[in-house]
Symmetry: C2
Subunit: 260 residues, 2 copies
DNA sequence: TCCAGTTTGTTCCCGCGTTCACAAACTCCT
DNA sequence: AGGAGTTTGTGAACGCGGGAACAAACTGGA
C-alpha cells in the first residue's frame, strides 16, 4: 500500500565533520551515563528548538563564536533557565564557566531536529497562500526542498511560480513516490483538504502541514500540524476585547498577557 | 502618546438579538451563582474556542440545529470531556439529556471571543504573504475588516490587491488613528519587523500578529502572536526523523504522536 | 597549587491543563 | 406520575511544563 521508503536523500547525516571549532572538551567523552540521550524530548522543547536554531544562526552571522545561556535566551525571547533545561535534553553541549560554542551548538540542534539532511516537500493548492509558500525563502534555506507545486485548476497548469512550474494534482502520487516525499503542505480550500490529505497519506506521506481551515483525520503514525490565520486573529480579538472592557475608555498598559 | 481609544466601532455588542431560536430554558435565568462568569478563561481554552466556533458554523450550514458534546467534539477534533469543560468556562449553555443548540452556542462563543463586533486590521508588508493575507476570506468573514495595506516599496504603491490599494508605510500612524485599529499584522522581512512593530504600538495598536521570523519585543499590555511557517516544518521534520530511525527501512504506522 | 568568579546542568516545587468518573438534570415512554 | 435512558457540568486525580535555586565544573589569577 504505502511505498516502501528506502533511502532518505540525506546530505551528511553522520557525526561531526562540521565547523566544530573549539569543541568543548567534555562533549562526547564522559557525559550522559544516567539518561538515555536519544529518547523522548518534550514536545514543548521541540517546538522551541527551531527558535534557538534561528537565534544561533543570527549570532553566527554577527561573528559571535561563544554565548552564554543568558545571551541566547534573550535572543530567542525565553527564560534562561528554560533554555538550559531545553538544551539539557539534547546532551551536555555547553562548558560550565564559559557558555556554548555557537557553531557547535547550532549543528547539534540542527542534527537533533533533522535539518542537516534534506527533506522533500510537496505543496498542494497554489492559490494566494500557495504562491507565498512556494516563494518563501525560509523553506529552502533550512533543508526543505520544494519538489513540486500541485493544483487541480487546469487554468493554472504550467504557470511559473518562482522557478517552478505548476503541475496537475493528478501527478500527486507519482511525485511523492519519485522524490520520496515525507512532508506535504496543504494549502487548498477547506473542501478539498481531506481528499488531498488522504491521497498524500496513501502515497506514503507521513507528515502534513495543513493551512486549510478544516480538521483533518489521519491514520495513526501520521503527524498533522495546523496553521490557521483566522484563529490566531480571533485569539487576539479575545484579549483585545478584555482589555477594552477592563479599561473603559482611556488607554491601557495594564497587564502582561503574553510577551514574546 | 498612545491615541485615546474612544468608541470601538462595534456593530451589535449587546445581549441577545440574534438568531436565538429554541433558547435553552436554564440559560440566563437561574444559573451561575457560584462562579464569576466573566473572569479568567484558561488560555488553552481560548485557543480552542475558534475551532469550536468553526465546527458550529459548519454544523449550522448543514442544517443541524442541535448537537451533543460528542458530535461537536469529533467535528472539532478534540475529546468530548475537554469540550464540555471548555464550554463550562463560558457558562451553562447546554441542556442535560439533550445537548447544545447550535445557533445559540455559536452566538455565545462568538460573543465571548469578540467576533460579534468588527475589528479593524492593518496589514504591513505586502509581499507574497501579505498578498495572500489581504485576499484571505477567513478574515473578513469573521468580523475582521482589513482597512489598509501598507508597504514601504515605492514601486508597489497604488497597486491593487483585491479591492484595496497599497498605501505608503508612511501613512501607518494616520491609518491606525483614523480607523481606530487595535490589531496589526506584520508580514514584512525580518529586519523591518521590529521597527514596524514599534510604530504600530506607538500609534495605539495593542495586538500584533507577526509573520516575520523575528522575536518582537513589546511593552506590557501588548499581545503578540507569532506564526512561523518554517518552524512548523522543522517540528514535523523532527518527528519524521524519529519515525525514520525507529523503523529502519520499511513503512511505519507505529505510533500516534499528535493526531489532529 | 589554591581560591575566587562564572556559568552550566539538574533537582525540587508549583501551577496549569487534561482526563476520568460521577452526580445533576432533562426527555421520553409507559 | 414515575422510572429508564441520555447528556451536561464538575470534582478529583494525574502528568507535564515553567521557574527558582543550587551543586558541579571550568577559567583565570596569585
Amino acid at each position: 500500500m504505502t511505498s516502501a521508503r528506502s533511502s532518505r536523500n540525506g546530505s551528511t547525516p553522520g557525526e561531526g565533520a562540521v565547523g566544530g571549532t573549539t569543541r568543548p572538551t567534555a562533549a562526547a567523552g564522559s557525559a550522559a551515563p544516567t539518561r538515555t540521550p536519544e529518547r523522548g524530548i518534550p514536545e514543548a522543547t521541540v517546538a522551541r528548538l527551531p527558535i534557538y536554531l534561528r537565534a544561533l544562526i543570527s549570532l553566527a552571522e554577527r561573528g559571535i563564536a561563544t554565548c552564554s545561556s543568558e545571551e541566547l535566551a534573550t535572543a530567542a525571547g525565553v527564560n534562561s533557565a528554560k533554555l538550559r533545561k531545553d538544551l539539557s535534553y539534547l546532551g551536555s553541549y555547553g562548558t560550565r564557566g564559559v557558555g556554548y560554542d555557537v557553531e557547535y551548538l547550532r549543528y547539534q540542534i540542527a542534527r537533533e531536529i533533522g535539518v542537516t539532511q534534506d527533506w522533500s516537500v510537496v505543496i498542494v493548492g497554489i492559490g494566494n497562500l500557495g504562491h507565498a509558500l512556494a516563494n518563501y525563502s525560509g523553506f529552502t534555506s533550512r533543508g526543505f526542498r520544494v519538489v513540486a507545486l500541485l493544483d487541480s485548476d487546469p487554468n493554472r497548469l504550467g504557470e511559473l511560480v518562482g522557478e517552478m512550474r505548476i503541475r496537475s494534482a493528478g501527478e500527486l502520487e507519482a511525485v511523492v513516490v519519485e522524490h520520496d516525499v515525507a512532508i506535504g503542505v496543504i494549502a487548498t480550500p477547506a473542501l478539498a483538504a481531506q481528499e488531498v490529505c488522504d491521497r498524500l497519506v496513501a502515497a506514503g506521506v507521513t507528515s502534513i502541514l495543513n493551512f486549510a481551515p478544516t480538521v483533518l483525520s489521519v491514520p495513526p503514525g501520521v503527524d498533522v500540524r495546523k496553521v490557521d490565520l483566522s484563529i490566531e486573529l480571533q485569539i487576539l480579538a479575545y484579549h483585545e476585547q478584555r482589555k477594552a472592557m477592563s479599561a473603559p475608555d482611556e488607554a491601557d498598559l495594564s497587564r502582561v498577557v503574553e510577551s514574546a
